[in-house]
């Protein structure tokens, strides 16, 4: 009798495991050091963890809602989208903006929050350029400068488009932290980054070597709604992810996750 009960229990467990699907989640990291931490929780005192953690918590909450098991991989930003495209990942997180070009290659979830871009530099560089330009530096008047940004980002696409006209030299890096390093070691004059990403990295930087320059920009492909990237062919997954997002927004889980990591509402 006991053997039969055990057998039934095992069968039930096996059936339960077989029913639960597995989702491979890619989250773009902020710092190269975080690349080695796949599958583990990023230590909270590392630079830029807020953005990774909020993505991580959101991914796990979505997986829980759609009864899937999440396997999280931390990858450089420029590997998130190719990974989703070639089927290595089912969900891609990385403060991803939606564009018509990206729509052709990926499916996108409903918006998770909104993002904008802003220039960054050291106060000395900003002042030097302001003196040269005769006015405070902004994205509108920036010219003849070295500008660093993330590989594979829309900021890079924007800079490439105006580089020759403005005499800009574009410097690319794999992570946001490396972009900021270019400003510190004077490899670049300015950085063009997602405000949220930069804030997460600079919030606890007591040296205050780097500051925001000019106004934030949300147009010209540099801002807007942020989404989770999904494979185009899996529409059922997109629908269930959208349902999960709607559910976690409706019951306040989303707001709690955002507030756990950022002192403001992200949407």
């Amino acid at each position: 009798m006991d053997k039969l009960r055990t057998l039934l229990l095992v069968l039930c467990l096996v059936a339960g495991i077989a029913q639960a699907s597995e989702l491979r989640v890619a989250i773009g990291v902020q710092d190269p050091a975080q690349l080695a931490m796949s599958g583990n929780v990023i230590p909270p005192n590392m630079p830029g963890t807020e953005l990774i953690s909020v993505n991580d918590d959101l991914a796990r909450e979505i997986c829980r809602r759609i009864r899937a098991r999440c396997t999280v991989s931390f990858v450089p930003f420029n590997e998130v989208l190719p990974g989703v495209e070639d089927g290595r990942f089912d969900l891609g997180f990385g403060n991803l903006l939606r564009t018509p070009e990206r729509d052709k290659r990926f499916a996108f979830s409903s918006p998770i929050w909104r993002s904008s871009s802003r220039l960054l530099s050291t106060p000395a560089t900003a002042e030097a350029f302001a003196t040269r330009l005769g006015q405070p530096v902004s994205l509108e008047n920036l010219r003849d400068a070295r500008v660093a940004t993330l590989e594979g980002s829309l900021q890079l696409a924007f800079l490439n488009a105006i580089a020759s006209q403005r005499g800009l030299t574009v410097v690319t890096r794999k992570t946001a932290q490396e972009v900021l390093e270019t400003l510190r070691d004077n490899t670049a004059d300015f950085g063009l980054m997602s405000v949220l990403s930069a804030y997460a990295l600079l919030n606890r930087d007591t040296t205050r070597q780097i500051e925001f320059v000019g106004s934030a920009v949300a147009d010209r492909g540099l801002g807007g709604t942020v989404h989770i990237a999904l494979p185009r062919q899996n529409d059922a997954l997109r629908l269930s992810v959208d349902q999960a997002i709607a559910a976690i927004r409706a019951d306040g889980s989303y707001q709690r996750i955002a507030r756990r990591h950022f002192p403001l509402g992200l949407d």
Binding site: R114, S115, S116, R118, V195, L196, Y199, L202, N203, T206, R208, E211, F212, S215, A216, V217, A218, G223, G224, P263, L264, G265, D267
Partner: protein, 424 residues
């Protein structure tokens, strides 16, 4: 004035099809008008759900972000350490960069100016912390501007919802007015329908029913007011025709009855009819306690007359005799051709003596009367009569007695009146 014969009439089916179509048309118009209002309410609620509420949420987030800038601005002034001040400044920069603020020009400008002022304040403070208090009064202007914006956005969100709700309320009020109108319209139409039904269908049918119930041949044909419905008019006409037909049947029946009760040759009532009415008359007279007499008369030598002059002459004699009978007796006296040349009489309310005198007078009149035959020849006939008292006996007995008396009259030489009691 149009005479009823040429008056235009409507077929009931056509009239009701027209009425039903009109009603359906009116009802469809009302439904369409209500559907328009319903559509308007649906549109307004969809707008509220799809546009206004998301817009209100956007306004709320924007207001929340502006309020956060204002609060962090206050912290810049109240911070006790440069790090705390820097942290607030950095958060202000983050919030001011949020797309919700960037896409709202008024908020973007207010946030940018507040951010710039606070960054300058941060620079001033990093050089000389004591000077920060001097800038607080100016900050109050920025703070107040942000507060006003927050209030404006809250009111703006509520106004957006109010606009949609007002639109819905207006549509619902209009729909309610239309519903009341529709109710009056439907009620009025039903009332009109009932009136028309009553006037053109129910009352004519009641009149026809009444006319049919009291349809009698001895009454004049039923009269109907002119009906507008062709079918009703047709039934009324049929009712009148039925009355005419009944009257014609009654006339035919009377004619047949007359033929059945009368003797074809003399026009006198026949024996069967005599027996029927004489019996009734006798009973009545007896009930009244009055006297009555029954008589039987027979033309003398009638067979010989037939043999001599032919049957045509016999018929002429019978007809002439019948005329004499009708001229000679009272209307209350009943006379019939009892058979061949034999005739029966009932003298109600007459004593035997009175009847005898009457019979005698008539016998004499017959005997004196010249009858002209077809060929111009004049002849005379005589009559033998037997009388019997019928005051107390049934008609059959009285007839039997009268017959016996007649036999006696014949036996005693004919052309005489014999009373039955005399022979008994």
């Amino acid at each position: 004035m149009v005479t009823p014969e040429f008056r235009e009439r409507y077929r009931a089916r056509t009239a009701f099809v027209i009425l039903a179509t009109t009603f359906a048309l009116l009802f469809s118009i009302v439904v369409a008008l209500l559907a328009m209002d319903q559509h308007r309410v649906l549109e307004a609620s969809q707008r509220l759900q799809q546009d206004t509420i998301p817009q209100i949420i956007r306004f709320q987030r924007l207001a929340r972000n502006l309020e956060q800038i204002r609060q962090e601005g206050e912290r810049v002034f109240s911070a006790t350490t440069p790090e705390g001040r820097q942290q607030s400044l950095f958060l202000i920069m983050l919030v001011a960069s949020h797309p919700s603020i960037l896409e709202h020009p008024q908020s973007a400008e207010a946030a940018r100016e507040a951010e710039r002022f606070l960054i300058e304040t941060g620079s001033v403070a990093s050089r000389d912390a004591s000077k920060i208090a001097l800038r607080h009064a100016e900050w109050q202007n920025f703070s107040k501007r942000l507060s006003l914006l927050v209030d404006d956005l809250s009111v703006q969100g509520a106004s957006l919802a109010n606009d949609d709700l007002n639109d819905m309320v207006a549509a619902m009020r209009l729909a309610r007015a239309k519903l009341v109108g529709a109710l009056i319209l439907v009620g009025g139409f039903l009332l009109l329908l009932i009136l028309l039904l009553n006037q053109h269908l129910i009352r004519p049918l009641q009149r026809i029913d009444q006319a049919l119930s009291s349809l009698r041949v001895d009454q004049p044909p039923p009269e109907f007011p002119d009906a507008r419905m062709a079918e009703i008019h047709a039934v009324e006409q049929a009712t009148r025709r039925l009355h005419d037909s009944l009257a014609a049947n009654e006339a035919a029946r009377r004619e047949l009855e007359l033929l059945a009760n009368r003797d074809g040759l003399t026009g006198l009532i026949n024996r069967r009819h005599f027996m029927m009415i004489a019996d009734a008359e006798l009973r009545y007279t007896q009930d009244q306690g009055k006297p009555a007499v029954i008589a039987l008369g027979d033309l003398d030598y009638f067979k010989r007359l037939n043999d001599t002059y032919g049957h045509a002459a016999g018929d002429t004699v019978l007809r002439a005799f019948a005329l004499l009978l009708e001229e000679s007796f009272r209307q209350s006296d009943l006379v019939c051709r009892y058979g061949g040349e034999e005739f029966a009489f009932l003298f109600p309310d007459s004593t035997l003596e009175q009847a005898r005198a009457l019979a005698e007078r008539f016998r004499q009149r017959v005997a004196d009367h010249d009858i002209r035959l077809a060929d111009g020849l004049l002849i005379r006939v005589t009559l033998s009569i037997g009388l019997a008292d019928a005051s107390k006996s049934p008609i059959e007995n009285a007839l039997h007695d009268a017959d016996f008396a007649l036999y006696e009259a014949k036996r005693l030489g004919r052309n005489r009146v014999i009373v039955a009691t005399e022979t008994v």
